[in-house]
């Protein structure tokens, strides 16, 4: 049994039935990390002590014949924007190089309560700002499928680790596409739940009305298993929804025959790579073959999504990142004589270029004289974009689109032109703005064997529909 080629169920059963141990599983993954991660760069911090303690706990349970919790013994990775108590958390930034959180992110705590073994913290774009994982202060992550190419971002480390079998499943975060796009680029499954489905407590905030936590996994079933574990109301996050958590795994096999699938012309137009278009159209044909009805829909405000996103996200980020001031934690500049100098130099020294750019843009958009023209305007367009989805979902159960307009690009290809990089998010930002759930699943590859992903969007709190369709497609493909 190849201990690094397992899904959640396979790993957990193997430990439960004592065919292997949680310790052996953890060690096999660490050995693989040792062998492969030098080239990939997915992990920033390894948590061997924490992992082995948890593995031991699970092994003792199995030895005593007790039923393991749903993720018992399963090796997982956590994107480094989620706080882990006692374990260094950097958000991919130098400003938090030595920061050790005194508390756990709720999603992490729920995973560990379910028996998951946290192997370490995943590399990511600094403060989750980026679409290629080239903005990490600790070096880029490389795509395991082609090391000269990006894994996508900002959850590049999380996606790459799963793709390279260095973790069974990982947690990522998505604000403009940062779970789905790297999942697409690395050939794995990436799920962004409805806003409020999963608590954001412990997630280092980038844009509070857009941030989501979600799983990256080898299969749709694994993504559903993790969602079932981490979802649900949390009194520590007042934006977490008081909505019951269905058994997402049990609902996976519901038949998709008769499901109405929307295809939006605005997502299949100019700028979409031919090979990506072909792969996605094939996927849609396959869904038709499963008995789904294809319905053309229109999401007319799509061309305004990127500017809306980059005003709202940067404005919120400028507020959220104001806390990094060198006072209570994080980098403090040396040789400063006044408080003001301390703030300004600590932040300038600790933040990378993209972070500074977004803070500046956000601050400008919120400043007196510009607030109405930019921030307020963007919030109104956000309403229009959300209404587009509301309208469409009166006619269809799910909407299928490409995840990204291109296959993974090369390192350095877009890093000199911030706007070109921003335009890579064109198909993913709309879901974050509307708060609807979305999943990316692999749907083929280019001639150069680069992964292509197809995205399925659903109604608020209707993860069951998109998981069901994704699962049916995955099984048939």
């Amino acid at each position: 049994m190849d201990l690094t080629a397992l899904t959640i169920d396979a790993a957990r059963s193997a430990v439960q039935e004592r065919k292997t141990t949680a310790l052996a599983l953890a060690e096999a993954h660490y050995a693989r990390i040792q062998k492969e991660d030098g080239q990939i760069g997915a992990f920033l911090t390894l948590s061997k002590e924490r992992a082995l303690e948890q593995a031991d706990r699970m092994d003792r349970m199995a030895a005593e014949g007790k039923t393991l919790p749903p993720l018992g013994g399963v090796p997982v990775g956590i994107k480094d924007v989620m706080s882990t108590r006692g374990l260094r958390t950097t958000a991919g930034s130098k400003i938090l190089e030595k920061y050790i959180p005194p508390y756990d992110c709720t999603a992490v705590a729920r995973l560990e309560a379910a028996g998951a073994v946290v192997l370490g913290k995943m590399n990511c774009d600094e403060f989750a700002m980026g679409s290629s994982n080239e903005n990490s202060a600790y070096g880029p992550v490389r795509n395991p499928r082609d090391l000269s190419r990006v894994p996508g971002g900002s959850s590049g480390g999380s996606a790459a680790a799963v793709a390279a079998d260095m973790a069974v499943v990982t947690l990522g975060s998505d604000t403009g596409g940062s779970i789905r796009q790297p999942a697409s680029f690395c050939g794995v499954v990436g799920l962004m739940p409805t806003y409020g489905r999963v608590s954001r407590y412990g997630l280092i905030a980038f844009a509070s009305s857009l941030d989501h936590i979600g799983p990256l996994a080898k299969t749709v079933k694994d993504a559903a298993t993790v969602l079932r574990t981490i979802a649900g109301r949390d009194p520590m996050d007042s934006t977490s929804a008081d909505v019951a958590v269905p058994d997402y795994v049990a609902e996976l096999d519901k038949p998709v025959r008769g499901m109405k699938i929307g295809v939006a012309k605005e997502y299949l137009g100019e700028g979409l790579d031919d090979e990506v278009r072909q792969a996605v159209e094939s996927a849609i044909e396959k869904m038709k073959g499963l008995g789904c009805e294809i319905v053309p829909v229109s999401l007319p405000h799509t061309p305004y999504a990127i500017p809306t996103y980059y005003i709202i996200a940067t404005a919120e980020a400028s507020a959220n990142l104001a806390r990094f001031d060198g006072v209570r934690y994080g980098h403090r500049a040396r040789g400063v004589k006044t408080l003001s100098e301390m703030y300004r130099r600590s932040r300038d020294e600790g933040f990378g270029a993209e972070v500074k750019r977004r803070i500046m843009l956000g601050t400008y958009a919120l400043s007196a004289g510009y607030y109405d023209a930019y921030y307020l305007k963007a919030q109104k367009v956000r309403t229009l974009l959300t209404r587009d989805f509301d309208e469409a979902f009166h006619k269809v159960d799910a909407i299928v689109t490409p995840t990204s307009p291109t296959a993974p690009f090369r390192l350095g290809e877009k890093s000199n032109d911030p706007l070109a990089m921003y335009l890579a998010d064109i198909y993913t930002v709309t879901a974050d703005l509307a708060g609807i759930p979305g999943i990316s699943v692999p749907c083929g590859q280019t001639k150069e064997k680069l992964p292509i992903g197809v995205q399925i969007l659903g109604k608020h709190f209707d993860e069951s529909t998109i998981l069901g369709l994704a699962h049916a497609y995955e099984q048939a493909a």
């Binding site: 500074k356 919030q379 509307a434």
Partner: protein, 112 residues
């Protein structure tokens, strides 16, 4: 709207960022390029559209109530006894760049 050097200096001040001359020049270029693209939002007529600050209002807000009662979904009852413990003092100070046993220490705040 064109961003000027003065704007960049003003915004950097607001954001508490000590930018170098080179960074300021780059910022001028990047902000102008991005804002030029963002200006297309003005093509849309949003005169009668309510702003959407956050998604969670959609599924929690009680439209039939007034004032802060509309946001009851985000609130809980005041807890008088058995409140969750605060972070212990030493843990709260543990990441401080400079602290004594009681306080975070910073350079002087008030200039004389």
């Amino acid at each position: 709207m064109k961003v000027t050097e003065k704007d960049v200096a003003y915004v950097a001040d607001l954001a508490n960022l000590e930018l170098s001359a080179e960074e300021r020049a780059g910022m001028l270029r990047d902000l102008n390029s991005i804002l030029e693209y963002v200006d297309r939002l003005s093509e849309l007529d949003t005169s009668n559209i309510p702003p959407m600050a956050q998604v969670s209002d959609r599924y929690g807000l009680d439209e039939s109530k007034q004032g802060s009662e509309r946001f009851a979904y985000a609130n809980r009852e005041d807890i008088l006894e058995g409140l969750r413990k605060s972070l212990p003092h030493e843990e709260a100070l543990a990441n401080a760049p400079d602290a004594d046993e009681q306080f975070f220490q910073v350079p002087k705040v008030i200039e004389r």
